[in-house]
Amino acid sequence: MWLEVEHLAIAYGDAPAVWDATLRVGPGEVVAVIGPNGAGKSTLVNTIAGLQRSRSGALRFGGVDLCAVPPHLVCRQGIALVPEGRRLFTRMSVEENLEMGGYRGEARRARTATLERVYGLFPILRERRRQLAGSLSGGQQQMVAIGRALMAQPTLLLLDEPSLGLAPAVVDQMFEIIRAINREGVAILLVEQNVVRALEIAARAYVLEEGRVVADGPPAILRQQSRIREAYLGFRDGDVNP
């Protein structure tokens, strides 16, 4: 199923966050959205997941117009979100968080099997299943967040800054798991500030700057362009010191 975003504009009240975003994610693809802080990446991903409403533009998944779907029914389309900052239900246990991921009808029926798979991917969560989610370390919380999303049996997984605040070794682990999930056929849309990580894993990437897509393509091409450096650091390579 294809995710199609066309000229999407999103605003908070009258404060625009995204002016014009166009991207596509194909079945089983890993696509990255990179760009500096404040570019609108999280806003974009939250809108795809149904947490935000868009102002204009088209948003379709598998041909279904997501703008017309009420927020709590978006997950039924097969989209699951691992939000920035994890946003776990901190007052509930690890297992309860995972169960909440499998809340929707179809996912609920298959939940025992899916739970086993999640514990297989993250054995440490099985050990801590009854612990309060808020008491886990950052890396473990990230695992719960990913596990929770997997419980929803998505065909498209949205990951928003999964490496934020984590030690490099833990991040390595995280990205290995993301690759493993992708190998099972789940498409991934990855939002990352960390350009290196994002380009290592993605088949294609979009560069978002100030709410607009300013470049896109496979990592090999993007790495050569100075567009990324300009977006993040503000100057082109050829700039002379004033």
């Binding site: 009258d14 625009p16 404040g38 570019a39 100030e210 993040y232 650091l233 503000g234 100057f235 004033p242």
Partner: protein, 577 residues
Amino acid sequence: MAPGRRVAVGLLAAGLGFGALATVGIPAFYESFLYMIFSWIALATSWSILSGYAGYFSFGHGAFFGAGMYTTATLTTALGLPFLATLPIAGLLAAALGLGIGAVVFRVKRLRGELFGLLTLAVGFVLATIVLNTRIDGGPGVYLSAVPLPRVLASPTGTLYLLGLALALATVGTAYAVAHSRLGLGLYAIHDDEDVAELKGVPTLSYKLIAFALSAGIAGVAGGIHAMYVSYVTVGETFSITVPLYVVLMSVLGGARHWLGPAVGATMIAASLYAFTGGQQALLGRALVAFILILIVLLLPEGVVPAVLARWRAWRPRSMEVSEPPAALPARAAPAAVLTCEHVWRAFGGIQALRGVSLAVAPGEILGLVGPNGSGKTTLINVISGYYTADRGRVTLGGEALTERTAHEIARLGVGRTYQIPRPFAHFTALDNVALAATFGPGRCPPRQARDEARAWLDFTGLGRRATALPHELNLHERKFLELARALAGAPRVILLDEVLSGLNPAEIASAVRLIQQIRARGVAVLFVEHLMRAVLELSDRVVVLNEGEVIAAGSPHEAMRSERVIEVYLGTTHVA
């Protein structure tokens, strides 16, 4: 005639009118009826001085009323004091009670809204129990029938009628005076956004205490008068749920933010309550009143008086906007100064947000503060402006330490800030938003001058024509510039800009950049947090890069942004070439 003069004349006329009514002689029923209305006017209006203006809904107004009643009851019967002498004592005692409660409760930040309401409700019940169980009442109640009442008019209750009238007029006059004073201005700002008010220089704690004491004191005097009126005081009747709840109703109905609102609401409700005297009728009356309250809360949340005023303004022909010549921008109140942070540390729970951050911003310099998400930029601004305290380290302005001071003192010393998401006072016009900052900020001007200065700053930011607009009528760009104008009012020595450019389109960004350059030209020190790298490079004289609470680079923009460490943090190691 100036509006204040008009109100005073109006009150005087009402006083003479109603006073004359009593002298001429009216049937006892109507005298009582009017007295009750006066009493409720005093109670509701006094309640709104804190709760309506500042938004701290108290459900314990009955406690002060009861304190006043029992003060008079006890002093006249047990100590034989003359009735009139007990009234000021009742007021003072009730005010002291209010001060005591406020001193404890107002310091606790989370006790706002419904929790403050519940707390005050609880206090009322506690006071009732104490009164019931000690010698103040002890159970049987207190009889005041033997207490001599100075006779002024023909009827025995004439004195009380006149006292009630005088108190009602005095209370409404006080409410008007407060509403148009600095105290009132500060209270209204507290209502809209207490944290921002504090940061703009409003001494929030003192103002809340003063309002509470005033409100309680008036209720106490009303109670003292009422004790004589009922002449048999019992705990059950005095401390029942009636007073606390009805004053809320009356004020909300009439308009809790307006000086005349509670009086109108009190008249409407009291009149309908006491007009129906028969059993079944009284019931219907109460139910009807409650129903009206529900309708008003849902449909006219600001109350009757503001709604009527708004309708009246819409009918009147709009007066022509007089274009005044642009006012001159005021000079700075204090000499220019350097802002320094010295080894500032700050943690939240287990997370170290700032690790020994040191920097300095000189007058006429723009320092760009950049860094990835969560690096501590906004925390630093919050520490400098006084919203957070530093765990370790110092912040100084012109050599004077800011670190141990309250936020409003820091604002007065000349620190202005903007918020990334603009937080204007929702009920204030653009002009009044800026004028408030001028009134309470470093310049501390009187109201007249504050408005002139406000107009000047609005012109500076290009919002001159939008001076009378309310914040919700402004678009984002205008709100951001209003935020800027408000931060500039009072001519601060340092201005902290928190992502002022986010959400603006390129044309708006260009005009914002020009503005900031003009601010620098006036000799203000500018600390400027931004994600928009191009703007940072264009504007900043120097740049400081934060990462995870630490300064990892400082220097000219190009130096800092090309440093290896910075590139590594933003893009990852392979980009460092």
